[in-house]
Symmetry: C2
Subunit: 341 residues, 2 copies
């Protein structure tokens, strides 16, 4: 990020017509946006949510409350024609209402998907291998999906997106996210494995065992090896989106726990990525707090979301637009001739 722009933004925030610090966390968010966009009066415009979908071999272990058939059915839902417009999922409704374009990426869904203008195909295989038993992806597949995610982010940025929200759909994907988080942060699986779509106590204990079994299989620590062993196609794609967005000096709005696992791989590869990440809400999934603590970033809201799809990231867009607007459009005490204390 641009340290000079951040310093100028911090100085400007202190001169705006309000008591010092009265805009709370919005002030630091505005300064970080100044760093991303390289100007003390940042003017971010468009936004895009890029929903990567993939299936998971580990779903066969019974780690989810939903069957794998839900993944392609939800992709169809993202792309459906509805009376309100394109898409009938939560992310569709939120993106339409709050001003974000929706792009869908087939990162490796276990179904044939019909052509659709909003669908980009990048599947190398219809679902990962079962990470409990073997590497989820090859290193070559992992790199291919990272590049596919990066290419989609580039396309969205070229079409006007200054905010990129990586999102995901993939039945079973909180299991790879937990495995990635445990290995990358050196935490016990029980500390970072949650209920996902809503499994009961018994199945949660089983899910912890599955993650523990996967981690016991190999002691890789190289971030790309960790991603290939324990990750997922949509997680690799989201990593690519994040890296490309940061490289293009745009803001990555970070949704929940699965997105967070991609971000952990990202900062392990390129620590400067952190400056471009803006966590949306505190996600109800166990392990999300540990991710944010590692990133050293605070969430903007605490609505208890645990849906994914990028929904939380889309909800956070107006808060970031608002933060930028205070720096850009408020007058200083001097400009407004308001007595300052």
């Amino acid at each position: 990020a641009d340290a000079g722009a951040m310093a100028r933004a911090r100085q400007r925030q202190a001169q705006l017509t309000k008591p010092a610090g009265a805009l709370g966390d919005l002030e630091e968010l505005s300064v970080r946006l100044a760093g991303v966009f390289g100007h003390e009066r940042p003017d971010p415009r468009g936004a895009a949510v890029l929903v990567a979908a993939g299936d998971h071999g580990v779903a066969a272990e019974g780690v989810s409350a939903y069957p794998p058939e839900v993944t392609p059915a939800m992709v169809a839902n993202f792309l459906a024609d509805t009376p309100a417009g394109p898409g009938g999922a939560a992310v569709s409704a939120l993106a339409r209402t709050l001003g974000a374009e929706v792009y869908v990426l087939d990162a490796g869904v276990n179904a044939g998907l019909p052509d659709h203008p909003a669908l980009t195909r990048a599947a190398r295989r219809r679902g990962t291998h079962n990470l409990r038993r073997e590497a989820a992806m090859t290193r070559e597949e992992t790199l291919a999906l990272i590049l596919a995610g990066a290419a989609l982010a580039e396309r969205a940025i070229d079409a006007g997106a200054d905010f990129v929200v990586p999102g995901e759909m993939g039945i079973g994907n909180t299991t790879p996210a937990a495995a990635l988080t445990a290995r990358l942060l050196g935490l016990d699986p029980a500390e970072v494995t949650g209920r996902g779509t809503g499994v009961d106590d018994e199945r949660l204990a089983h899910k912890v065992d599955v993650v523990r079994g996967a981690l016991a299989r190999t002691n890789v620590t190289d971030p790309l090896d960790v991603l290939a062993e324990f990750g997922g196609f949509e997680i690799a794609a989201m990593l690519g989106m994040m890296l490309a967005t940061a490289a293009r000096r745009r803001a990555v709005v970070l949704d929940g726990f699965v997105e967070g696992s991609a971000a952990l791989v990202g900062v392990a590869l390129a620590p400067a990525l952190r400056d471009f990440l803006f966590p949306a809400g505190e996600c109800a999934e166990r392990g999300h707090a540990a991710q944010l603590s590692h990133l050293g970033l605070n969430p903007m809201f605490h609505l208890g979301l645990r849906l994914g799809e990028g929904t939380g990231g889309v909800l956070a867009l107006p808060l970031l637009r608002g933060a930028a607007a205070t720096l850009r459009e408020m007058r200083t005490f001097e400009e407004a001739a308001v007595p300052d204390g």
Copy 2:
């Protein structure tokens, strides 16, 4: 609120294409909006922030970090022509960016204010009496300001506002807000008196003494008597805005501590008002949490705002629009042919 619409909305939320409860607090917000707007697929459109400004006799006690001259200077700032558009204050920048009309009400500012199309005049007097020594307002003045606030809300609603954000500007006004909160909730002044614009420890202790002195002066408990004795012109106006908005079955988005003190008077007068209140963020001002606890309502975010002006309320608008959009635009499992668990 419309209990039938809420019941239908709750049933609909349970059928939408997402795991039950995965949208967290957004689901209950959507159900409450269904109750306000009387439809299980609520479609709220416009929004208005109504900034009431008034001065306070108690400012002479040295309870604020800023001089009273800031009140009219900030009103001028709300109304200023700037390169970005009308208004150079935080609420101006946020409202412009997030889609809310700004209305300004002179509820009793200690200055002559020039005519402006966005300024409505309702001042009966240039500032309240010093509530430490005597009643801040007469009962007649109190009622007049309630009616003026109600009339402005009616006007905003007639112009298309489905969300009304009462906002305020008034140097010294966290002192009356603390006195109102202490009396209406039966709490000690030290529990509900905060730093306002940012006073130091010594001045905070003095501010608590001022509130304590005011409360010792009279033991009135009738809500309108309490408001007249300890309130402020802009607080009375915000009460009127809230009552009129609820009467017109629109949503009141509740900003911070001063707005909250008006809401406490409101629910004491008309308990059904609660159903129409949507607290925005948890405000950093001490005493706000006690207000929300009494109202039995949760804030949407925790950004540590303590500015007022309606800024938090404006930031919350997209979250409410998003909540309504999920109910209105998402498809059900049946409509989308997605397997449900």
